[in-house]
Homo-oligomer: 321 residues x 4
């Protein structure tokens, strides 16, 4: 049942050829900073809204707190939450001169510490980001092109869940399990789900749920993981998907199908296709509801915070069904 | 046309009487941590989704960056954005051993620095927060009750815009202008808009737009502002609104109708009614679209980040119409 | 040779009696916010300066970075370092309009994340801090009394090292090893060191060096540790020490000699004696130099950052000998 | 008496020629990361310690808090101080299960937000930092060469104050006032102070004191300021100074003697001479004491925090006299 033999080796030439072949630079004009979310039309948004059948709403974000998956590796730590004013201050009389009893707080978070969108400025191809913008436009001052703010009003449309783990009858796919295009096809067919242009695809592996349930992150943060195989890129491009999201740290299978190149799927998806990628999405409760009534599509609204020049954003994606 | 005479004086007794009169403690059970968003039923969500008529989507968040309204007063500063890895690092060869060229970043933000939800743990009434929870449950460790995470899947439903500034034919209401219940009624009637149970009400004053356009925050951050008058509280409670949002710093009119009490409207709304309150919402473009076709209601989806124990959350609210 | 039998049990009554017996409240006036550093006279500073014999200088701070001992427990994380501008930005031409090529950075650190001073506002005795100030003066706004800034010019004088590990012939004392007053006496006598009024005492256990050498923090951050036994408090008070520092996380032995009370030594030392306490000091290289020439005293200068209202400060203590 | 005519114009060629002429690369070996603090010998430290005559100690740091000079410009903000635990938490019973009542806190600060050392990695000359290290070694990961940690044990020696404002009989020099080498000479002679090899020179303009006294930062943060003229660089190099510090934002006079080049003095001092530079030092109380007894030299101990890879450090410099 598990088809993951040792991953085939992908050479750098093959990788680069795929980058060039699937490249969408210029497709939406030379100044476009949005990429594949351009596939979504107003008509699609209207149609997606009609997928709200029962009024159930699902939050697909995991809690943002110190129990998150981050280890500090590569500078990614879990959110740090500080109180600026608290109920204990109020109780202690510290606000008596204020005329109001209140609490206030602040949070420090890597934009990619938890449930998140990658911006198109998050990954580069050689000297460029999506649409040919020079990568030096992403400096310590932030991203002057392709910052997350450019898609702040675009993350709404038809969401489609492909429940791979559910299809294979397991709680979670094994780490290292590659989800190939053919498997996505098979899942869609078994579910009776059509995946089409402008869709926001959510791929469920079960990995995040397994970690949350067990309280053990294991290799979640950047180590071995189930995920999309390299051959899904053509499939995604062919279908004109708006975005692809999953319940893993980095969407693609690890170990990857390359020897010296890290995250080859990202090389193609973000800077070349211009694909919006969502990671660490909580999909188990949604999947359960979908399985219960057989509807695997819904209205998906996942607005990133328009942090100016940010290369990603924490997000609380909503599935309304 | 402008009805703002010197504000009538509200005494502490009157304020406290209103608090008790409108109190919703126990209405949704002794353990409820959600308050008025409980007014929203699944049926209302379905109905709201049918308000998506043209597929236009509006992001109601202002940019999160150093140009925001905060002054550091009361510990609220504008967001600080740091890069963890950048395109210039990649260009400089610093990632050559990594096998991936990428950028990463982090943000430090008071939860109420920009467009935001107040959590029900944000404001206290004497020794309690909403539903009678002890305010000492909001300590330096965060809010053990009524944290923003408890409504993370509830901020979706029918949005209704009452364009007060537009109704009065001004770009922005004057600072200090009190929007009374009768005026909300008049605006609704003029717009042909029915405001009902479970609605997310957006009240447009024009103040935020005026500041953004002029590049001058003036007294925006906690000073004089147009906003809801005290008598709107009964109106809100009677209508069973899910939430009330506006394009000002703190929704209620300032100077307030009290001498020594700061933000009397908040005293009633948050800890007693259990009302979800949204502030610093960008409403001008949405209002323009509403005026253009005469539809002032839409699907509203404004998911807060489930920051565990947070007393508020930055948010990018979406209006789909 | 190792005298650490199961720790004798200290009752709360005994602890409280010691607190009252050693209490220095009012000793330096009702408004004093400095405590035992008042023992240091200008004459002592002059005399201490004459202990600089060879011109060797030792930095007693460990590196402030992500490799530190903190685990996030109780909100203490290791320092987070962000670049605001970098050499890669300069190299990439991002500063060409600036007329200057430079780097800039920022750091977020719990004040007690590494080598540090505790302020007298760090630990409370019931409802008070040192000198009887109300603990509610330490709110979310910081410490209105006894903040670290009040001793910013006082951390200079005669430093004395008692090398307990060296005396016992071990690289590091075992975790749980209690250093009793009699042992301090024995070490001082063996070293030929007189410990007197106004001295800054440094007690070496070897624990920090063991962790740094092995790259394994083990239980360092708040778990079992060698350290000062409860009976050293009388000894410290009798000798009118200015401060006591050590190469452990929290100076006192753990497990402690109490069942339900955490850090009983701190209860007495900080809020009652008003003792300045320094923790996580790097003492091994200094100890080696002291052993080499037999001089265990030196000029000690350890200025905290005057962070207004802070209850501690990171510090780079200097020993000049 | 005031000699500041319109500043002579310095051309880029002249600037570059000075850089090359005064360059110390290789002077202390190809791997040196410390620069001019190498001028300090152990004998000098011993001699400096004998300058402690009365036992007075001066903290030369300004308070680190929200009242500092920063405006957010170029990413430099004033320190943000957060409480992790507070006395109000303790008072409210939130720590009752802990067995200890305590407060804890954290601080976020640009390393150069207040009183500070510049590291030798702070300013670059074209593609290099001090000693010829490639500027790309200062990436988002921090400074791999010439980080502040390399001088953590070196900031101790003879301090010398040249009280320029005092010499000229003014409370503070006017903004734009250039302190030329000849004036430093004249001040030294008038004070009876010899400035020599390995000295830490403190130059008092009075600007910081004027701002602190008036509560008005004016142009302090990077605007017009009195300060060292370009011709002091030869004087500094000839005397083999260990470091130069002042009571201004950036030590050198502004507007500068160049048209398009910002901070020409820094171009020479940091990357070429390898000079340690201290800024925003509080010098008024020290100057008063020096004037009172005629001794303008003292023991100077100003240990930076060894923040790994930092390009500067906040510091609390001590003058013991």
């Amino acid at each position: 049942m598990n088809d993951h033999a040792p991953p085939e080796v992908l050479t750098e030439e093959e990788l680069r050829a795929t980058c060039l072949r699937l490249r969408n630079w210029g497709r939406w004009g030379p100044e476009d900073q949005r990429g594949t979310v351009n596939h979504v039309t107003p008509e699609m948004v209207v149609a997606a809204s009609r997928l709200v059948r029962t009024g159930q709403s699902f939050s697909l974000a995991m809690p943002f707190d110190q129990n998150g998956p981050q280890t500090g590796r590569r500078g990614r730590h879990n959110p740090v939450h500080y109180m600026i004013q608290s109920g204990t201050d109020a109780h202690s009389g510290c606000q008596d001169a204020d005329g109001l009893r209140y609490a206030d707080d602040a949070v420090l978070m890597p934009t990619q510490c938890g449930t998140q969108w990658d911006a198109l400025s998050h990954v580069f191809y050689d000297e460029h980001m999506y649409n040919g913008f020079d990568l030096r436009l992403v400096s310590s001052r932030g991203a002057e092109r392709c910052g997350i703010e450019h898609v702040s009003d675009r993350m709404a449309g038809r969401g489609v869940l492909l429940d791979v783990a559910g299809h294979l009858g397991v709680a979670a796919l094994e780490d290292g399990f590659p989800i190939r295009a053919a498997l996505l096809e098979a899942v869609a067919e078994a579910q009776g789900t059509v995946v089409g242009a402008g869709d926001f695809l959510l791929v469920r592996t079960g990995q995040l749920g397994r970690c949350l349930d067990s309280g053990d992150w294991g290799t979640f943060a950047g180590g071995a993981a189930p995920g999309l195989a390299f051959d899904t890129l053509d499939w995604i491009q062919d279908r004109c998907l708006a975005a692809v999201c999953s319940d893993t740290f980095a969407i693609e299978v690890r170990p990857e199908a390359t020897r010296t190149i890290r995250r080859p799927w990202h090389w193609v998806a973000i800077p070349n296709i211009g694909l919006s990628v969502g990671e660490i999405f909580v999909l188990d409760p949604l999947a359960e509801a979908c399985r219960a009534d057989g509807h695997f599509d819904f209205l998906f609204v996942a607005p990133p915070l328009p942090i100016t020049g940010a290369v990603g954003s924490p997000v609380n994606p909503m599935a309304l069904r």
